[in-house]
C-alpha cells in the first residue's frame, strides 16, 4: 500500500461549517477549504437552512480545496466524510456529497467520527502523544482520553455545550453571531490581566517520577471588572451550564452591565471547565492536556488551562486556530488513520447524529 503518498479528501458538515480538507499519508495538510453558514441576525442555526447552504457551496469548496492542494480529482485515493455526531440535515448534505463524489471518482468511502477527528488533528498539529483532551465547541463539551482501544469520555456537559450556552447568552443580549468572540471582547474590556509569569508556548515539564513536582509559581491575576456571582455547577467530572446561563441573563435584565456579566460568565464557566479537566488529569494520571474545538480559540480559556498545567507540571497543547473549529482536514486525517488500520470502506454514506466518541473502535492506536 502506498501509505505515505496516499491522499485523502475529507468532508466536514456537522453544523455551521462546510469544509473540505486534503491530507496525505504522512500527515501533511495539502488543503483546508471551508465556507461557513451564517444565520440571520438574532437567530441561531436553522439546520435545514445550513444544510441548503452546504449543498449550495459544496462544488465551490471542492474546487478551492483541489486548487489549494494543486491536485486533480483523480489524484485523490480515498474520501472520508463526517458521519456524526451533528445536526441531521447538515450531516446528510455532506454525506450525500461524499457519496456522489466517491461514486463518480470510483474512490473508497470512509466514515469518520467528528469528535475523534477533532482530537486526531489536534494531536497531529500540536504533536501531543497521549493527551487528556478538553473538547469545547457549540454542541460538544467533553473531557476525553484514550484507554483500552477507545477514546473514553471522562466528563461531559449534562445539558448544553459551552459554545451553545455562550451563543445563546449573546443572542439574548443582542450580540451578533458568533457570540463567543463578542463575549470575550466585552469581558476583556473589564479586566486587566497580568500573566507575565506564564509563557504562550506550551510548557515543557520536567516531571519527577511521582508525576508532579513543586515548581509552582502562581501568576498574579489583577482584576478590575466587577464579578457577579453566578452558579458554579460541577458534578465530579461532569458539568452543567443551564443554571449559569439563566442567572447571567437574569442579572442582565436586572440591569447589570453587559461587560460585567460577560466577564463573570467567562470566568465562572471556564473555571468549571478547567477544574473538571484537572480532576480528569488527576484521576487518569496523564500529563498532556490538549485544548480543541471552536471555543478553544478563546484566549482567556487558553490562559487558564496554561496556568493549571504549569502548576501541575503538565504539558499544555493548543491547536492552530484554523483547526480548532470544524474543518475538513480533520476528517481527511482521521480517514487516513482509519483506512490504514484496516477500517472497511462503505458504499452508502450513512450518518448517525448521536454517534458518541466512545463508540468508535480506535484501531490505529496500539496500547
Amino acid at each position: 500500500m502506498k501509505n505515505k503518498s496516499m491522499i485523502c479528501l475529507g468532508i466536514e458538515s456537522t453544523a455551521h461549517t462546510f469544509g473540505i480538507g486534503i491530507v496525505n499519508g504522512s500527515g501533511k495538510i495539502l488543503a483546508n477549504a471551508k465556507d461557513i453558514y451564517k444565520p440571520n441576525e438574532g437567530y441561531g442555526i436553522i439546520p435545514m437552512e445550513a444544510a441548503k447552504h452546504h449543498s449550495a457551496v459544496a462544488c465551490d469548496v471542492l474546487k478551492k480545496a483541489l486548487d489549494e492542494a494543486k491536485i486533480k480529482p483523480e489524484d485523490v485515493d480515498i474520501i472520508a466524510y463526517s458521519a456524526g455526531p451533528g445536526l441531521p440535515p447538515c450531516l446528510r448534505a455532506g454525506a450525500k456529497f461524499a457519496e456522489t463524489l466517491s461514486a463518480r471518482l470510483e474512490k473508497e468511502l470512509i466514515p469518520a467520527n467528528h469528535c475523534v477527528a477533532h482530537i486526531e488533528i489536534g494531536k497531529l498539529l500540536a504533536r501531543a502523544k497521549d493527551p487528556v483532551t478538553l473538547y469545547v465547541s457549540g454542541g460538544n463539551t467533553q473531557i476525553i482520553a484514550f484507554a483500552e482501544g477507545r477514546y473514553r469520555i471522562f466528563g461531559e456537559t449534562l445539558d448544553v455545550g459551552i459554545g451553545n450556552a455562550l451563543d445563546q447568552f449573546a443572542r439574548d443580549a443582542g450580540l451578533d453571531f458568533p457570540g463567543g468572540p463578542k463575549i470575550e471582547q466585552l469581558a476583556n474590556a473589564r479586566k486587566i490581566g497580568d500573566f507575565s509569569t506564564c509563557t504562550r508556548t506550551s510548557f515543557a515539564a520536567t516531571p519527577k517520577t511521582s508525576g508532579f513536582c513543586a515548581c509552582q509559581k502562581p501568576s498574579v491575576f489583577v482584576q478590575s471588572g466587577k464579578y457577579i456571582r453566578l452558579p458554579y455547577t460541577v458534578k465530579g467530572m461532569d458539568l452543567s451550564f443551564s443554571g449559569i446561563l439563566a442567572e447571567a441573563l437574569r442579572q442582565l435584565k436586572k440591569g447589570a452591565k453587559l461587560e460585567d456579566v460577560c466577564f463573570s460568565l467567562q470566568e465562572t464557566a471556564f473555571a468549571m471547565l478547567v477544574e473538571v479537566t484537572e480532576r480528569a488529569v488527576a484521576h487518569i494520571g496523564k500529563n498532556e492536556i490538549l485544548l480543541t474545538g471552536g471555543v478553544a480559540a478563546n484566549k482567556r480559556l487558553q490562559e487558564m488551562l496554561e496556568i493549571m498545567c504549569k502548576e501541575r507540571c503538565a504539558k499544555f497543547f493548543t491547536v492552530p486556530r484554523d483547526y480548532t473549529g470544524d474543518n475538513g482536514a480533520q476528517i481527511a486525517w482521521t480517514g487516513i488513520l482509519a483506512y490504514k488500520s484496516g477500517e472497511k470502506s462503505v458504499n452508502k454514506a450513512e450518518t448517525n447524529s448521536r454517534w458518541r466518541t466512545d463508540e468508535v473502535d480506535v484501531k490505529w492506536i496500539k496500547k
Binding site: 501568576s219 464579578y227 465530579g236 470566568e267 477544574e275 480532576r279 458518541r356
Partner: protein
Amino acid sequence: MDKKIIARGAEAILYKEKIDGQEALVKERIRKSYRLPQIDSELRLQRTRREARLLSEARRCGILTPKVFSVDEKGCKIVMEFIKGKMLKVLFNEASEKEAADIAKETGGQIALLHLGGIIHGDLTTSNMILSEGKIYFVDFGLGEVSQRIEDFATDLSVLKEAIKSTHFRRLDVLWKSVEKGYKSSNPNAEAVFRRMEAIEKRGRYSKRD
C-alpha cells in the same frame, strides 16, 4: 515545615503529619491561580467546610470515612485519619473478576446507606474509595451535598457508572451489575432511583433515544 506531599488531587494536596505521635493526613485545598480570587476562595472555603461536615455525617449513616481531627478554615485544611489501603481504581482492574464484583456490590450497598442518610457524595469515582482491611472507606466529600431528591441520588450513581465505564471498561457490565445489586439490597427505593438514572442518561447529549 517540610511537607512531604503524597498525592496531588485536582484541588488539594495531601501530606502526612505527626499529631500526638499518631500519623495523620492533611488535606489542604491550595489556591488555584487560574481562577478569579473571589471564585477561588469561596470554593475552597465552602468545600472544606462541607467535606469536614459530611465526613462526620456519613459516619453516622454507617459509612466508613476517615475521622476528622481538626479543621482549619482559614488555611482550607482538614487534618484526618490516614487510611492505609488501595484505591478501588487500582483494585477494580487488578483483582480477580469475582473479587472485583464482590467489592463493587459492597460499594453499591454503602452508597445506598449514604443516600438513605440523605447524603450525596458528588464525586463517586473509583479514586475516592479505598479498600482497607477488607472494608471500603469513602473519601473526598468536597462536592457533596445534603439531599433527599431521587434526581440527586440518580446523578450521584451516574457519576459512578461513567467512572467505571471510562476507567474499567472491560468489566463495566459485571461491575455495574454488582453495584446495582448492592444498592438494591440496601435501599428500598432503588427501583425509582435506577429508573431516574435511565431518564438522565437519555437526557445526555448523543445518548441513545427510543
